[in-house]
């Protein structure tokens, strides 16, 4: 009597029907999978270096595929940076001896002009993956990685060491395993700064993507399918309209990753906020809302739960996240001494090798030449900072203090800040060539194109953080505009301005490598400076000069940070923090 028997699948009827959100999310997942596989296949294709293309087709029909390949590079670099951050920052926060080495190293790496190293790394990576495109891909990914990883590691390390003492003690007393502690406490508590920093660094990464897809080493030029190489090829052939297409593709990519990836991530990270009260205007994301309404993410979560449990069990032998209270003094001392000796020996060997190499090739006199050129570039950086300050501080304050304007302006500024300035170079250079402005002066504008936004960005944030009651108090005392600026606004935005200034100055130094020497439509313009010195040495394969240039530039950046910015920063923190 099958009719009387209750239907075995009756439960399914009571479940809500397949919702359109599920359908949408499901299709989106499949599309992402397909595109990733397609791009990965291209990236791993075999390659004969001798016949490797030095340029790619500038047919706009190829742009979607190029964009896909570029995106893959960006995301692979982001994953690599995240893994690096997790490992290095955690090691530095947990092992005092590692911290003593890692922090200064990161500080210097952050200031080193990455672009100067491109040719070295390309040679290395090609040797690593013979006969495959992977070598060139890895070199490009590495260039992007170096623009992201140090920042992210610093931010994660900072959140690890500033972890609330109570939470740390609770975790230790519960005797969480190392693995559990990392995922239950360390990562969640550092999530918000990590996501924001990742988003900023990702924005900065586009610049290096564009610069690293077409690389010349010695007399050979390699081009990878990607938007950056597309622009390079279009510029070389003087096709400004095609550069326009690339810019459009770039805008779509920047906005698209923002909308589909970073916005949802930022909104999702809000759950890791530790303050008791939720922020009034917490970031929202349409995509995240959509995912939350779909049952697919939860289903995937359940499906992968056994994997998580397996990892939890597998990592148990690594032990409890606890350190002994007492370490025999002798053993600790011995460890310190061994560590110090190894580091000193390493540094001495490196210094010896470098001096031997430079001394035997171009001689130490080249340092003098590089320093002279460094001063010229320094003047350009100085001009940029001064001009950007004069222009963007008032604008930033105006935007930041008008909530309506800042709501509209914020996404625009974010786009401008993450839009790779080197995509705009061709238009600016074409203008210089037409009007006859020498690159000595014009280079300043090129360098400013990428770096000035950091000042604007931070000033807006600083100005919008000035408490409303303070502003109203100033108004009720009828202060003149000038008095208001001097007593409230300038002190109020100072810390944010300093942060922006450091970043902008660092960015300008780095940009000098691609801004002091440019070619357009078979014309090459050169402005004397440390940037063009490094760029010329790189393309000529002159490793000794590259080394000298990079060392001198690092000295400039690190020195200025120490002597100037750090001090300003301390003043900002002690006197002007709101």
């Amino acid at each position: 009597m099958p009719v009387l028997r209750p239907l075995s699948g009756a439960g399914a009827l009571r479940r809500p029907a397949l919702r359109w959100t599920d359908l949408l999310v499901g299709v989106a997942i499949i599309v992402v999978f397909y595109l990733t596989i397609r791009a990965t296949l291209g990236a791993a294709s075999p390659l004969d270096l001798a016949t490797a293309p030095s340029s790619i087709s500038t047919d706009p029909a190829h742009l979607p595929y190029y964009a896909l390949r570029s995106l893959l590079r960006m995301f692979v670099a982001l994953i690599a940076s995240t893994v690096f951050t997790f490992m290095v920052a955690t090691a530095a926060a947990r092992l005092p001896r590692v911290e003593k080495i890692v922090l200064p190293a990161l500080d210097i790496l952050q200031s080193v002009p990455i672009l100067g190293f491109l040719s070295v790394t390309v040679t290395g990576f090609i040797a690593l993956f013979p006969g495959s495109t992977l070598g060139l891909e890895a070199a490009s990914v590495f260039a992007i990685f170096t623009s992201q990883a140090w920042n992210m590691a610093f931010s994660f390390h900072a959140s690890l060491v500033s972890q609330s003492r109570d939470l740390d003690e609770a975790a230790r007393l519960m005797r969480l395993s190392k693995w559990q502690r990392f995922w239950k406490l360390d990562v969640p508590s550092g999530m918000i700064p990590l996501v924001w920093n990742g988003m900023m660094s990702f924005g900065g990464g586009w610049f290096f993507l564009a610069a690293s897809e077409a690389i010349s080493v010695g007399d050979k030029t390699y081009a990878l399918p990607g938007v950056g190489a597309y622009v390079a090829a279009a510029v070389e052939q003087g096709q400004l309209d095609r550069v326009g297409w690339a810019i459009l593709a770039m805008i779509v990519m920047v906005l698209g990753t923002n909308f589909l990836f970073w916005r949802p991530l930022v909104a999702w990270a809000e759950r890791f906020r530790q303050e008791d009260t939720a922020a009034v205007d917490r970031p929202r994301s349409l995509v995240l809302d959509l995912l939350a309404h779909s049952s697919i993410p939860r289903g995937l979560g359940r499906a992968f739960a056994p994997v998580g449990r397996g990892l939890d069990r597998a990592t148990r032998p690594f032990g409890v996240a606890e350190h002994p209270l007492f370490v025999p003094r002798l053993r600790r001392r011995a460890g310190d001494v061994v560590m110090a000796l190894v580091v000193i020996a390493g540094i001495l060997y490196g210094a010896y090798w470098a001096s031997e190499f430079i001394g035997s090739t171009i001689g130490f006199g080249s340092f003098g030449e590089a320093f002279g050129l460094g001063l010229i570039t320094f003047i350009r950086v100085l001009v940029i900072i001064i001009l950007a300050t004069l222009i963007w501080v008032p604008v930033g304050v105006w935007v930041g203090m008008n909530p309506k304007v800042s709501k509209l302006a914020q996404p625009v500024v974010q786009l401008l800040a993450s839009f790779p300035a080197n995509f705009l170079f061709p238009f600016v250079i074409a203008f210089f060539v037409a009007v006859g402005i020498p690159l000595d002066i014009g280079g300043i504008l090129l360098m400013a194109l990428g770096s000035q936004w950091y000042i604007l960005f931070n000033v807006i944030a600083g100005a919008s953080a000035i408490p409303t009651d303070l502003r109203q108090a100033m108004e009720s005392f009828r202060l003149t505009p000038w008095q208001r600026w001097r007593k409230l606004i300038l002190p109020g935005i100072f810390p944010a301005y300093v942060t922006g200034g450091i970043t902008a100055a660092g960015g300008a130094w780095n940009a000098s490598i691609v801004s002091e020497i440019v070619s357009y439509n078979h014309n090459t313009l050169i402005a004397p400076g440390l940037g063009s010195y490094i760029a010329q040495a790189t393309s000529g394969g002159d490793m000794a000069r590259v080394l000298v240039g990079v060392i001198v530039m690092s000295v400039f950046v690190v020195g200025l940070n120490r002597l100037f910015w750090r001090r300003l920063y301390r003043v900002a923190e002690t006197r002007f923090s709101l």
Binding site: S164, D166, L167, E169, A170, R172, L173, M174, R175, L176, S177, Q180, K184, L185, P188, R271, F272, R273, Q274, D276, T277, A278, R309, D312, R313, R316, V320, E322, H323, P324, L325, F326
Partner: protein
């Protein structure tokens, strides 16, 4: 009650390094915690009671001496304890259930059993229905219940509590405290042994079988009381009130002893010691000083400390520094847990503002070593100005960074109020009121005040 010793603290000393010196926080502490008893560690802030608790939990190591759990000296977090924090210390990104389960997860217990035990603990502690809530959705009282559930679910041998009720409002803490007392007396509490750190005298008497009173600067065990009143205890009963008075008597009984020279021989410390700087200034504002003297005068010159604390809704950490300061300036006297106004105090309470300031200035120079030291240095200097850093570095050797700054802040507050000296924050200088840079500011302040 069986008498197995669970935790033994043997001659524990904890010394923290300071700028150019050392600060002894715990000094020669020995105690035991036996199975089935509830022990309270009572002391004012700075007595090192939290430090002692963290030594017992194995979170920090003592400088000398040992802490052992069931006879084994600790070298890492104590496996037989769970801690309830003052600040709750819940992971904000985990739900109530996940927070409670976490300790079991750390022990590698299977998911099904984990869930069952966590739900039971949540049920016992009165959190039913809140399993899927995030901590930020809960009130303080509910959050601390999660804190208790999380600690109890792992069934520790000893439950450690670090001022568990002091972040809650009066009604909520009363409610939670009496529920715990009930659970202990009914035997529904899975853990029978506990150590509670508190600065609330009544709380200690209400909960504990044994109270250890800690002295401050450095922390030593000053007295041990056994509470034999039957539970639940009635706070209004005369026996209870007698005990409260007794503890107040112990806490205010003697002035803080002069600090032992922290650095052996020579150095800034010897110089500092010569000026009496090792006797700390109680951290009390001039306003609260005036307030307590006036309150006493209004009450006819004498009042019990417990009653004053009750009336002002003050914890002992708020009240005792003010009492110490008033005592130091000879405005009041303590006697068996009661506070009495002195002749000086009566005059001070009756004086108008200007005269009160003059009297305060005289008393401060006479009785407060740090204020006297600064005034002396200022008079000795040619310019009528000295650098605050110099004073601060003398203090650092004795007190450590944070407390040194607090000492200086208090001295500056007192000096400003008595118009003895000025402090110019921009240049970091202490100035005599006659100094050209100070006159304007000082004159302005007199008018304002």
């Amino acid at each position: 009650m069986n008498n197995t010793t669970l935790i033994a603290v043997d001659d524990v000393t904890k010394v923290f390094a300071t700028d150019g010196g050392e600060k002894t926080v715990l000094d020669g502490i020995s105690l035991t915690i036996n199975h089935g008893e509830i022990v309270a560690l009572l002391g004012r802030s700075g007595s090192g009671k939290s430090t002692l608790l963290r030594c017992i939990a194995g979170l920090i190591g003592p400088s000398t001496g040992t802490v052992s759990y069931k006879g084994t000296p600790l070298n890492g977090s104590n496996p037989g304890t769970a801690l309830v924090f003052q600040s709750f210390a819940l992971l904000p990104w985990l739900t109530v259930l996940e927070n409670v389960e976490l300790g079991l997860e750390a022990k590698g217990i299977k998911p099904a059993e984990r869930r069952e035990r966590a739900l039971k603990a949540i049920d016992v502690i009165g959190l039913d229905g809140f399993e899927s809530a995030y901590p930020k959705e809960l009130s303080g009282g509910m959050r601390q219940r999660v804190g208790f559930a999380r600690a109890l679910v792992v069934e520790p041998d000893v439950l450690l509590m670090d001022e568990p009720f002091s972040a809650l409002d009066v009604l909520t803490s009363e409610n939670l405290r009496s529920e715990l007392v009930r659970m202990w007396s009914e035997g529904t509490m899975p853990t029978q042994t506990a150590l509670i750190v508190t600065h609330n005298i009544e709380e200690a008497i209400q909960l504990a079988d044994r109270i250890l009173v800690l002295d401050s600067n450095p922390g030593r065990i000053k007295a041990e009381l056994t509470v034999e009143l039957p539970k639940p205890r009635d706070r209004r009963s005369p026996e209870f009130e007698d005990l409260v008075d007794e503890v107040y008597g112990i806490l205010t009984g003697q002035q803080a002893e002069p600090r032992r020279a922290a650095v052996n021989g020579g150095g800034p410390d010897a110089a500092a010691a010569a000026q009496g700087l090792e006797t700390p200034l109680p951290t009390a504002s001039t306003g609260s000083l005036g307030g307590i003297v006036e309150l006493l005068a209004a009450h006819g010159g004498s009042e019990g400390l417990a009653e004053i604390a009750d009336e002002l809704r003050y914890e002992i950490d708020d009240l005792l520094p003010v009492v110490d300061a008033a005592q130091l300036l000879k405005l009041v006297r303590t006697q068996d847990g009661a506070l009495r106004i002195t002749e000086q105090g009566r005059r001070y309470a009756g004086a108008d503002l200007l005269r009160a300031k003059e009297q305060f200035a005289t008393l401060a120079v006479e009785a407060a070593p740090l204020v006297r030291h600064i005034v002396k240095e200022l008079r000795r200097s040619d310019s009528g100005a000295i650098r605050a850093d110099g004073v601060l570095s003398d203090l650092r050797a004795l007190y450590g960074d944070q407390e040194a700054q607090q000492q200086l802040d208090t001295a500056v507050d007192w000096g400003r109020y008595g118009e003895l000296f000025e402090y110019d924050a921009d240049s970091g200088r202490l100035l005599l009121p006659t100094h050209p840079d100070a006159t304007a500011a000082a004159a302005g302040q007199t008018v304002d005040a």
